[in-house]
Symmetry: C2
Subunit: 152 residues, 2 copies
DNA sequence: TATTGTTATACTCTATAACTATA
DNA sequence: TATAGTTATAGAGTATAACAATA
């Protein structure tokens, strides 16, 4: 079998991985009352600490309007709060509730356990080599995205 | 650095791959007037040949109502047609238009070129080893999904 | 009675544009 | 004049439930 053909099969398997991984995350997060998009926002908030909606919109590369919707949902479900920004009265200060922090801790733990479940049974040499390939792949993909962005 | 830690980093990189790949596909398909979901449907239709909406709903693991919406879009944009089913008057026969087929040919070619761009620069031994890891990963992931499904 | 696909309704994510309050 | 966030509006994907036509 030619490498050209094997490249295509490998890409197909990666796309399958994307689908299965996405479904699994969606289902698993739903059990916490979360969606993938809202969890991305929580993740950013976790990295930065309390911040403005504008900063979150930039970080997630999404419109300010979209952040309004995501935060609306997260406030209703009790993960975060909106408070007046201490120094800029136009802006909103978004912070975790105690409940929100406790869920993030659970998610981080379950993330680590998931990684363990996926890789722990893999022989070390296979894992090392897989990571090398993965890094190369991400590099090529970024080049590809950059090249397509130039065309547009 | 512990393997436990390295597993987490590898998972993070895979999740990053998922995001970048999804964005790239979304952007690239948009230039053909397609979305990811509609393209999944076209892909299934390509594998099976003309078929019913029910069959497509089962294949995509999505509700019949969702297929109605996807086909509505694909009919408006001229990729497929709805015709009476030859033997079952309840059902709809979904087929490609000529235009739809011609776009599928272009997409298949661009898919193969994409695979080439991602992998061709990788040394053969790295590629082979990456594929081994990828297969193991998909296997573990499927086990994980099956196990979570049992809980629910 | 069961199946196919639709209408009705609702929720989420996404966007742009117009607007308010503030800087 | 520029910025932060909202309301208004719209399109896409998803779901369930009720219903029509047909099997």
């Amino acid at each position: 079998m030619s490498y050209t053909h094997r490249y295509r099969l490998a890409l197909d398997r990666i796309l399958e991985l994307v689908v299965v991984l996405n479904d699994d995350m969606t289902r698993s997060l739903a059990s916490y009352g979360l969606t993938v998009s809202r969890t991305h926002l929580l993740w950013e908030l976790r990295q930065r600490g309390p911040t403005t909606q504008k900063a979150l919109a930039d970080a997630l590369q999404v419109s300010p309007r979209t952040v309004t919707g995501l935060i609306d949902g997260l406030v209703s479900s009790g993960f975060v709060t909106r408070e007046p920004h201490p120094s800029d009265r136009r802006a909103t200060h978004v912070s975790f509730t105690e409940w929100g922090v406790s869920i993030m801790v659970v998610l981080e733990r379950s993330h680590a356990e998931f990684a363990q479940a996926l890789f722990a049974s893999m022989p070390d040499t296979d894992f090392d080599c897989f990571v090398v390939g993965l890094d190369q792949l991400l590099g090529r993909l970024r080049e590809h995205v950059a090249a397509s962005a130039e065309d547009a």
